[in-house]
Amino acid sequence: MSDAALHDHDVRLSACPACDAAPLAQRVAAGAGAHEDIILSLPTIYCATCISDVERALHAHPGVKTARVNLTLRRVTVDAPGLSAEDLIPVVERTGYEAHELDPAALSASRADRIGRDILMRIGVSGFAMMNIMILSVAVWSGAEAATRDMFHWISGAIALPTVVFAGQPFFSSAWRALKAGRLGMDVPISLALILASAISVYETIHSGHHAYFDAAVMLCFFLLIGRYLDYRTRAVARSAAEELTALEVPRAFRVTPAGDEPVPVAELVPGDLIRILPGARVPADGEIAQGTSEIDRSLLTGESVPVPAAPGAVLSAGEVNLTGPLILRVTAAGRDSSLARLTALVAAAESARGHYTSLAERASRLYSPLVHLLAFSSFLGWYWTTGDLRHSVNVAAAVLIITCPCALGLAVPAVVTAASGRLFRRGMLIKDGTALERLADVDCVVFDKTGTLTMGVPQVVSIEAIPVGMRPVALALAQGSSHPLSKALAQALRDAGATTVELEDLREVPGYGISGRWQGHEVRLGRADWLGADHGAGKISASWLSLGEGAPIRLEFTDRLRPGAESCVRELLASGRRVVLLSGDVAPVVQELAQRLGLAEWHAGVTPTEKAATVRELRVAGAHVLMVGDGLNDTAALAEAHVSISPASALDAARVASDIVLMGNDLSPVSDALETARGARSRIKENFAISVLYNIVAVPFAIAGLATPLMAALAMSLSSICVTLNALRLR
C-alpha cells in the first residue's frame, strides 16, 4: 500500500508537462531513426466484426505488414514501415470507426505488462503448489499416521519451500525495504509468518511431528498475491487510460523556415523561433504575434468565456487557443520558462503542501503489525515460562502468526477498490490515485470552476428572434463561412430553426473582426460591434452583431452552454447537504447569471489562479474536505490544493495530471454518484476489516492455547478471504 502511494506520488510530481516534454522529445528523437509501430486509438470499437473490419481494411492497405486490434485497450498496433499515422487514420475511418493517433513514447505499456505478468506467474505457481499440497494435507488431516504422514510432509515441503521462495519474493523485498526505512508495514508480519511457518514445518518434519504448516504458508502467498494483483490491475487500467489521454495530444509545433513550415516537437522550440499557429490550434509556447490578426480563446488559462482580439504585438501564453485567422508567433519563452511551466510549479508546491494522506489500510496495518508481533512473542514467552518446552513454544508462536496473518486484510482494500473503481469506470470516471476513493468519501464541500466545467465552454445563441425570417438564409450563409465558435453556434441555431442557405458573393473572413459577403448588391456582415459601426455597450456578455445592409445592425447574444448533467449534479449535491461554491475567473454578470440558474448562493467572479488556490486552502484550514472540479490551467493549483479533485477529459493536460479523478464523458452527473459510491466503498472497507478481525478474535484464543491445527489455520484463512471478497463484490 505504502509503496503504491509512493509510486503514485512520483507520478503526480511530474505534473509539469514542460519538464516531461524534454525527455519525451529525446525519446521521440532517439526513436526517429529506428522503425516504430504506429498505435491508433479506436474509442468506438466493441465487437468481433469491428475487429475483423479494422484489421481487414488495414491489411488491404499497401505497405502494412501486420495490424492487430486490442479490444481490451481499444487500440490497434500497426507495423507499417514508411507509413505514418496520417496515412492510416483515413483507412480506418473509411470502415466507420473513429481513429486517433497515439504517441507511442507516452505509453509505457510494455513495462506495465511485465509487472502484471510477473504477479500472474507467481499466482499460478503458488496456486499449483497449494492444490497439490492440499491433496496431501487432506490425507494428513483425515488421520494419516507415522511413516505415511512423514512422507506426505516431506513431499509437501519439497513443493512448498521453492514456492515460498519464488512466490513470496514481492513480500520479502517489500518487507526488507520497510525494515530498512525503520517501519513495520503489512509485509513484515507476512514475511515473518512465511519464514517461521516454513522453518518450523521443516523442523517438525525432520522430527516426525504431527503438525506441519506448509499448506498454510503457500495458501498465504496465494491469497495475498491475488490482493496484490487486484491492486495492480486497478492502477494499471487507470494509468493506461490516463496515459492514453496524454498520448492523444502529440506535442508538435510548426516552425516557419525559409524552406517552408516544418513540424518540430514543442520541446525543441527556442526563443526567437517563428511558429505558425493555424486557426483552432493551441498555442504551444509563450510569444508575441509577429504577423496576422485573430481572436484568442483564453478560457483554459483565465476562465474568461469571451474571446479576445489579437493583433501583431499582442502577447500570447502557451495553452491559449487561436480561433479565426492564422498567426505567426515569435517565441519568447518555451519549455521550462513558459507561463505554462510556471503555473505547474505552483501545482508542485501545492502538492507537497497537501502532504501524504494516510490511507485506511496504512492506519490498519500500523495498528495491526505491532499487535501481532507482540501477541506471538508473548504467547511464546508464556508457554516457555510455564512448560519450558522450546519446541512447543515456537510451534505456538508460529501458529499465532499464521492465524493472525492478514490474508483477509490484504484482500480487504484491493477487492473493494477494484469493485468500486470498476463501477465508476463504467459510469465514465477514471480513478487515477489509489487513495482517491477514500478521500472522496470525506468530501463535504464541492468547489466548481465555471468555464469548461459547469459549462461546456461552447457558446449558444440566446435567441434568433431578432433576425427576420426572410433574412435567416443570409445569416446562415455568413455564419457557415467562419470557424469562429460564435459563428458556429449561430449556424447551428439557424439550422435547427429550419433555415436553408443561399449563395453569397465575395465571402471573406476578416480575422479578428468578422465575416462579410455580398448579397443582392448589399454588403452583409457578421462580427464585432465596432467593425459594424454599432456600440457594444457596457455589458460583458458575449455578443455578435449582424448587419444586413439595411437598417441598424442586429445584436445577437450568446451564453455558454451548460454541461449536460450539471444542473442535476449541483441539485443532488445541495440536497445531500454539502456546501457548493462556484469560483470563476470570468466577469461578474456572467457568473451571477449561471449561479442563479443553478441555484448556487456562493459564487466568486474574477478570481485569479492564485486566489482560487488560496480560497481552497482557506476552506481546508477551516476544516472542510474540499472536492475541486475544474479544467483550466487557472484551476490546476486549486486542484492540487484540494482534498480530492476531478477534471473533465476535455481539460488541459496539466489540470488532468493535477487531479485524482478524470471524467471521461461530457456528462457531469456521475460526480454526485461518485461521492455516494465512495461512501459505500469506505463502509465496505471498514466492514471487511471488521470481518477479518472477527475471524481473528475467534481463532486467536485457540492458537494461543496451543490448540490450533493446520486444518484450522487453512479454514480460517480461506473462509475469511472468501467472505471479504464477496462483501466487496456487493458494490458492483
Binding site: A48, R56, V69, M121, G124
Partner: protein
C-alpha cells in the same frame, strides 16, 4: 499403499502439466487482450486456415 508410489507422482505430474500450460499461455501474451479474444472466436474469418 504401494499405489501411492504411482498416484502421487501422477498427480504432481498432472499439476505440473497445468502449470506449464499456464506459463506457456502467459509467455505467449495470451492475457493481453482477454476481451478481444473472447470476441475473435465468434468471427468466421480464419476458420479454415490460421491467420498468417
Amino acid at each position: 499403499m504401494e499405489i501411492l508410489g504411482i498416484l502421487i507422482p501422477v498427480s504432481l505430474g498432472l499439476g505440473a502439466l497445468g502449470l506449464l500450460a499456464f506459463v506457456w499461455a502467459l509467455r505467449g501474451r495470451q492475457y493481453e487482450d482477454p476481451k478481444g479474444d473472447a470476441e475473435r472466436i465468434l468471427s468466421k474469418e480464419w476458420d479454415d486456415r490460421p491467420k498468417p
